[in-house]
């Protein structure tokens, strides 16, 4: 599959000091729905905003549907439907006004499609944005982004303000529209259970680096959970298999390990199957440990 979103050695530094992202290499294949997961401050929003041309790279390069968003922002925006982190609708305008406004701003914007999505979500077109809940505003944002008919959809944590039902409706609409149009979507989120149902790829970003970039099926198949400490897991599976250790909700230690690609017949598998949430948390724990080790080494040097 052709990559529609690419980052090669991408780095972004703010105010000449803090690196939000550094050395990010990432490709999002066309036709996929990719989840971008990471803790707060990991640079998810920065990366998404850079792909639409809202941020300039400090180093490295990006590609959005084959164009460099820094050199050709117009081209990048034309290829992207964007749903920002916080709803950004005009408080005093009705939803119908937003649809008209989008129609005046963007050639090819499908006003009837946008109105259809909004009505399907039971949001009145005559309602002002200020009268809608945060979840409804996010849904209107999605309807506007979908009606651009852009081949790439960038969704920057749109689920954060949604209740579980609204979240489900949002994802359902997004998946249906993306699949029907053969588009590509990149969704950044903290809510891993929803991602598992909606996305087919998973990218984990931690402290400015890519920690994991696999299909959801591969991520589940290639990892196991050992219910014990890191030392116990290393003793059982070897140091190379170890990914990261973290506590279960009740406090008992869990360790994420890599599962061998091929297991000889009759050999018992290590630990138990990992959930997607455990895969993500394990890699985030590993990323954090690497960052601490790097900082310690730097301080010692």
């Amino acid at each position: 599959m052709t990559a529609v979103l690419e980052a090669h050695g991408f780095g972004k530094r703010y105010r000449r000091r803090t690196w939000a992202l550094r050395g990010v290499d990432l490709t999002v294949p066309g036709g996929s729905i990719t989840a971008l997961v990471g803790p707060n401050g990991s640079g998810k929003s920065t990366l998404i905003r850079a792909w639409i041309g809202f941020e300039r790279a400090t180093e490295g390069r990006l590609s959005t549907g084959g164009v460099d968003p820094q050199r050709n922002r117009k081209g990048a925006v034309e290829r992207v439907g964007y749903v920002p982190q916080s709803p950004s609708l005009y408080r005093d305008l009705t939803i119908a006004d937003h649809i008209v406004l989008a129609g005046t701003l963007r050639a090819g914007f499908d006003q009837s499609m946008a109105a259809g999505y909004v009505e399907r979500l039971s949001i009145p077109l005559r309602a002002r944005a200020s009268e809608l809940s945060g979840g409804e505003q996010a849904q209107v944002g999605l309807a506007l982004a979908l009606a651009t008919r852009a081949p790439i959809l960038l969704l920057d944590e749109p689920l954060a303000s949604l209740d579980p039902l609204a979240r489900r409706e949002f994802l359902h609409l997004m998946v249906e529209a993306v699949r029907a149009a053969g588009a590509t979507a990149l969704l950044s989120s903290h809510v891993i259970t929803d991602i598992e149902q909606a996305c087919d790829r998973l990218v984990v970003l931690g402290k400015g680096h890519t920690l994991l970039d696999l299909s959801v099926a591969e991520a589940l198949a290639h990892h196991r959970i050992v219910e014990g400490t890191a030392e116990e897991a290393v003793a059982q599976g070897g140091r190379d298999a170890f990914v990261g250790a973290f506590p279960a909700p009740a406090g008992e230690p869990l360790t994420l390990v890599r599962a061998p690609v091929v297991t000889p017949a009759g050999t018992p598998q290590l630990g138990r199957a990992a959930t997607l949430e455990e895969v993500v948390i394990g890699h985030l724990a590993a990323g954090r440990r690497r960052a601490i080790d790097a900082a310690t080494a730097e301080a010692a040097a």
Binding site: F54, E78, S88, L89, V100, L105, A145
Partner: protein, 314 residues
């Protein structure tokens, strides 16, 4: 036709996005124009305007009646808002156009929808700037009418009375401050600091323009030693004409010939002269200043457009 409908839609949406400020400015303009028109018409119909020209009538009880007094008082009050109006209207209309969009995050939505930010900027800024100009010109023309009724003997087209506080220049001043606020708002991305900074900058530009204009006018001024004080001409300064025909300022006199100033001088030898601009040049000077201010406003709009194209949304 389609383009016209689209432009009207955009103008209507711009109006609704900035509903509060637009209603405030439009409301104040319409109210001021209506009240002034009513008062002027009443003054004329009742004949109170003759009190200003007819010396015999001005001493009568008719001219000192409470009604006449109040009508002129209202007219003066309406005229007194003129110097403040372009500043307030320009700030209110121009400041929020980009600043509030950045502040509230709506720029993210708009800029992600519009491949051309310049197009978005033109859609948002042009109706706002037009409104500032139209409201300012309406107020300026109202001020013209008030001046005319207050001083019927004055030919307002040939007089510097109320210069910069009436006519076309009010509209241009509103345009200038709206453009300054637009540019600062697009740089700062916050409404309140934009208002403050735009006000300071407008003051600075006003002083600079005044200095340049004064210098130009001084160079172009007529010199006379028989100046009759009147409302039509613009008095610039008085100087001294030396016996050799050289015209010196008081400052130059005190530096070059302190003895003459200290010991007193014969006014027949050292003539006091006045530099002035005749009232007949009113529209020419007004037009020149309007052109200069419009050019400066255009530069600020350019800065705003370039900033919008280059900056990142919040």
């Amino acid at each position: 036709m389609t383009l016209r409908i689209a432009s009207l839609r955009i103008a209507a949406l711009t109006f609704r996005i900035q509903r509060f400020e637009m209603i405030l400015v439009l409301g104040a303009t319409i109210l001021s124009v209506l009240v002034s028109a009513l008062v002027i018409s009443w003054i004329r119909t009742a004949g109170y305007d003759r009190c200003m020209t007819d010396e015999n009538l001005s001493l009568t009880g008719f001219c000192h009646s409470a009604v006449g007094d109040w009508l002129f008082r209202i007219a003066r009050l309406s005229g007194s808002i003129v110097p403040v109006f372009p500043i307030v209207a320009g700030l209110l209309i121009g400041g929020p156009v980009v600043a509030r969009e950045l502040e509230s995050g709506t720029a993210r939505l708009a800029w992600s929808l519009s491949p051309s930010r310049l197009r978005w900027f033109v859609h948002r800024a042009v109706p706002a700037l037009l409104l500032a100009v139209v409201a300012g010109v309406a107020i300026g023309l109202t001020a013209d009418a008030i001046l005319h009724v207050s001083e019927p003997s004055l030919d307002i087209d040939q007089s510097f009375a109320g210069f910069r506080q009436r006519g076309l220049l009010i509209g241009v001043q509103a345009l200038l401050i709206a453009a300054i606020a637009l540019a600062i708002g697009s740089i700062l991305g916050r409404a309140i600091p934009t208002f403050v900074l735009a006000l300071i900058l407008f003051g600075g530009i006003g002083i600079a323009v005044d200095k340049v204009e004064s210098q130009l006018l001084t160079n172009e001024a007529l010199t006379t030693d028989s100046f009759q004080w009147n409302d039509a001409a613009m008095f610039l300064e008085s100087r001294i004409r030396m016996p050799d025909g050289q015209v010196l300022t008081w400052q130059q006199m005190s530096e070059i010939h302190p003895d003459i100033l200290n010991n007193g001088y014969d006014p027949e030898v050292y003539r006091d002269v006045v530099l002035y601009i005749p009232g007949s040049r009113y529209h020419e000077i007004e037009g020149r200043e309007a052109l200069a201010l419009t050019t400066i406003a255009g530069l600020f709009v350019l800065v705003a457009g370039m900033t919008v194209v280059r900056r990142r949304p919040r």
